[in-house]
Assembly symmetry: C2
Amino acid sequence: MEVFINIQRFSALTNLSSHTIRYYEKIGVLKHIARNSSGHRFFTTKDIEWIQFVKRLKEMGMPLDNIKLYADLREQGESTAEQRKRLLQEHVVILEQRIALEALHLKKIKEKILYYENIIDVPKI
Amino acid sequence: MEVFINIQRFSALTNLSSHTIRYYEKIGVLKHIARNSSGHRFFTTKDIEWIQFVKRLKEMGMPLDNIKLYADLREQGESTAEQRKRLLQEHVVILEQRIALEALHLKKIKEKILYYENIIDVPKI
DNA sequence: GATTGACTTAGAGTGTACTCTAAGGATTAA
DNA sequence: TTAATCCTTAGAGTACACTCTAAGTCAATC
């Protein structure tokens, strides 16, 4: 007995609204989604794996344009592996810089909170 | 001799466009900006300190609505210090969670890059 | 005194990423 | 079998944070 993943179940499994799922297909982030005889989408475990990866890229702050580019490359097969790797490497650098900046901001804002607790003198910014 | 900071200089000093500066004043993130006799804005070092702090909050991912709320509280004086402190504390929690999530994503994506380098087996997501 | 250029305002337009609506067809429960 | 609830599409609307435009004022230079 085959497990049939319709858009509703896919939505529940991925925590994305069905609107968003259709939108991702429209812009090419989701590709080759199968349809049943009445034109309804059905999803596979491959689709779930892919969308989990898409969500990771999104949460890393990668814009949908770049995710779409990655999806396009993936569609073209093994020959684009090097390009995809480079896309990821570029984003790793961006994310490492962002984390470093956020850590600095965190430190400064914690100092400001100490000021509010009258423990240290007023920091300007 | 007084140093006169017009919108142009303020823009250069803060790395914000003059459009953005006017916008921040319009929505209440910048308050009580002084004007000269012909109605042109002039800024003080206090304004620079404040906008640097605003930029920090923004880079921490705080939405302008919240920054505006902080600005409103600040305008009301010392009695709101506790509330402002709480706003910052809440955002510290959010940022700590984000940094933790980003660190996890970074780890996973680096594993994926190792896969592209044929060093480890294929990770799904 | 004319031109250049920086300033003012209100308000329109843009990009990103959804989010929702309308109109209609298919499936399921009462 | 009829009503409710799914699904489909194209396309409109929303939220956020700018970003730009138009029309006009004002000061400084040629």
